[in-house]
Symmetry: C2
Subunit: 492 residues, 2 copies
């Protein structure tokens, strides 16, 4: 069979599973949970079976042989699919099963440890997951160090060295900048007028904006969940979710802008060969660049609110005595939070730099897990100027490690760095620049479609950014953006 057919079948299975997952979070009745787990597990076994089958391997080889080497797009697509095949096929089923089981147990252990502020009880579980991650790295292979393999599986082409270059240069200037931003914000940010902000009106507002920036409702929708996400149920079926805070309407809106950024990327993929790499997002970092771009660069900008604040005041009358300037001080506030998921744009990446450094040391055998809290707290003090009150608000706060997700955190900051570089590069175009000033985002979306979305996974993330912006990924764009927005200067 042809690889296109097999890949399409794989995508059919994976997206069917995504629908089951989406329903589980949105509409599924409570008692359905255990049978739903069986349905999901059946589908994921079928998907794994297919893409590690001899038929898949042979079809890939045949396709590669039959492709004209001058056809660089097809060649790149097949190379990337081969890479993904190897990521899956190199792991013996026993190891995959061991990881599933360990992470399922560890998630519970982590939740308990976090609740009781008892890190040491979590150590044996974490050790087990680190050991499994090491085995995976050995099976996949790496150029310099095991952590490379873990980074690469989330962010194709990323290495410890390349991320270190980006992140280590960011550390000091970002820490300085964040501190200054927090001080400035403390002195003049105003709190949002009290709620309630009725959910119905939040939905109206969010939908107006999602449509306006270009999210296609014929090929997607927005529902409500405990944790916002974006999921792809087919080439023309992208579902976003958000959650509603009755005392802060911006919480659901920024959720929608973030997820719509992911969603518009998915909607902008070619959609002609489902399951092929040419039709798939390239990496988590590039995905996050799209969500952060719309959430932060667009959604927290002055022109955006010059356009939308009057409508907000219509829908939420308590805003009528709160000036646009006051409101901007609220959406652009900066404050230190020990909790990553509550951090704002100015301080967020400090949390990631800390986690990257700790993961790097773990996989270099430079940090015994029992000593992790001390290392965490020391790094935190260095970056934020104080110590977390306890491990629950420190090294135990995130679920990721308990799921065996090592090498994942850096993609958040890669997303922020790429977002700044892409946004500022697009804005060099006169037409886009003028359009951004009046909150018309169609030209920006077309630029992203042309330079990012339509390429699928044909180029490595770093190459994709370089092609789009004319220079290799560089953290200074993000610093400049934060400097301008949080410490005065232009903000567009």
């Amino acid at each position: 069979m042809k690889i296109q057919q097999l890949a399409r079948e794989h995508q059919i299975i994976v997206t069917s599973a995504s629908l089951l997952g989406w329903d589980q979070e949105t509409y599924m009745p409570e008692s359905a949970a255990s049978f739903r787990a069986e349905q999901l597990s059946w589908l994921s076994s079928r998907a794994h079976e297919l893409c590690t089958s001899a038929a898949w391997h042979d079809a890939l080889e045949n396709a590669a042989r039959q492709t004209d080497p001058g056809d660089s797009a097809t060649s790149a697509c097949l190379r990337e699919m081969k890479r993904r095949y190897h990521l899956a096929a190199k792991l013996p089923v026993e190891l995959v099963a061991a990881e599933t089981s360990a992470s399922s147990i560890s998630k519970h252990a982590w939740a308990q440890a976090r609740k009781d502020n008892d890190y040491q009880r979590f150590v044996p579980h974490l050790q087990g997951l680190v050991d499994i991650a090491r085995q995976k790295a050995e099976l996949w292979g790496y150029s310099n160090e095991p952590y490379d393999a873990l980074l690469d599986c989330h962010e194709r082409g990323a290495t410890t060295a390349s991320i270190s270059v980006l992140f280590d240069g960011l550390r000091s200037p970002l820490a300085r900048l964040a501190r200054a931003a927090v001080m400035r914000s403390n002195s003049h940010a105003k709190p949002l007028p009290a709620g309630p902000y009725p959910e119905e009106n939040q939905k109206i507002f969010n939908e107006l904006i999602a449509r306006d920036i270009g999210f296609d409702y014929n090929a997607g929708r927005i529902d409500t969940t405990a944790h916002p996400f974006c999921t792809t149920l087919g080439p023309r079926d992208i579902r976003l979710t958000t959650r509603y805070e009755v005392h802060d309407f911006t919480s659901s809106l920024f959720g929608v802008l973030h997820e719509a950024g992911h969603g518009m990327y998915e909607q902008g993929l070619p959609g002609t060969q489902p399951g092929m790499a040419s039709d798939d997002a390239v990496s988590l970092g590039i995905h996050e660049s799209q969500s952060r771009l719309w959430e932060n660069h667009v959604g927290r900008s002055l022109p955006f609110w010059e356009k939308w604040y009057p409508k907000a005041c219509d829908l939420f009358p308590q805003l009528r005595d709160f000036s646009l300037a006051d409101f901007m001080s609220f959406v652009q506030r900066a404050e230190f939070s020990p909790i990553r998921v509550e951090a704002d744009e100015a301080t967020y990446d400090l949390h990631i730099l800390l986690r990257f450094d700790i993961e790097r040391r773990i996989f270099r055998d430079q940090l015994p897990l029992a000593e992790l809290p001390e290392a965490w707290n020391e790094a935190y003090r260095e970056l934020f100027g104080e110590t977390p009150v306890d491990d629950t608000h420190g090294c135990l706060q995130d679920i990721h490690w308990s799921m065996g997700a090592f090498g994942y955190f850096p993609t958040y900051t890669l997303g922020n760095l790429h977002a700044a570089q892409l946004y500022r590069s697009a804005a060099k175009d006169d037409n886009i620049h003028r359009s951004l000033a009046v909150a018309n985002y169609q030209p920006l979306l077309l630029w992203l479609r042309e330079n990012i979305h339509r390429h699928g996974a044909l180029f490595e993330p770093a190459e994709l950014v370089t092609r789009a912006t004319g220079e290799a990924p560089d953290a200074r764009h993000h610093l400049t953006h934060l400097q301008e927005r949080y410490l005065g200067g232009a903000d567009y």
Copy 2:
């Protein structure tokens, strides 16, 4: 592998497909349709593959061999699964594919023919589907005539002869009774006060009632679709849908009562061995008996509205000057409609008797398809006293034949007959009788759980009804019910 495991896997696939189908009708964005069709088709191929596999066949045979013949429940379950296996396995894939393709084309041809009132253009399509149905009947085998096989595939154990006995005895008394009911209703039924009946309040009202009669919201939910349905997404996940008419709140409510009847049957199955016949509804007729029982016997009764009409008046103030007696004349109105799906309880079965007689003649080669409209109109005149204005309001009105569904219509009337027999039998119990009088339906539901639901597909429908009521299925209970409700006398 054990048959329990294979059956569970089959159920996992089938219910996953049901979720995709449910989503398609409820929330799916427009542009997702074509890929959704591919997802559904993949799942249905996997299900068919599995239950026609050698593994399935062998597992069934092994299980049957290893079952103690004294274990009548397991033996009955395996017998029924073997029957289902043969229904699927005896059809060559080419015939299944030919039917899928023919019915897909015919549905469009039918829609066009109905729109243009041009039956003759539909004849070749109908002929093709009748021919395929005949081939299926030959492959499945039958005792007396081909139509038996088509009836049996929808209603296990049903034959042309057995349905004829039930239906032919119903014809004249029902036609007389319906005519009298319509005359009486014309003379005193009052129209419902004008809307709007806000959708939000309809939802509140419906949910109160659905919970009260026993639909379990932990294992199900209600959504909105163009056509109401009930679907099973897992042993504890039963989804109902309804639609809202702003000018008649009873439309969505009777939809919910009907679908909740189906849903409570599914919720009352044992749920311990998904995919086994012991855990599956036995037939369409028994399923319909549950929906009609709650919709008509319960939902159109006086005690039900004595309980709920005050709440309706709270939610819909325009009802406050409309007396309960007037309202009862509205929910118990009888009128002739040429369209089956708009028919009321008193006249509905005449539509089915007509269709059964026509199908019987078609498959006995007594009715060339070109002459169907004349046969239809003559039968209609005989039953309803007039002639349909055209074929669009006559033999072209239903979608079923264009989908190749022959032998399906009779299950609707079987449902009505069984509903009356079950309801009246349950009401012989003093406690149930007293509870019905005060609209407490818990004892009735327990009786249905005990006598119908928990048995799954272990008994043939006729045997199930006989065991529950102490006598073989008999149309006179339905006639007595209609007589009492529509021509005076007790109504409980």
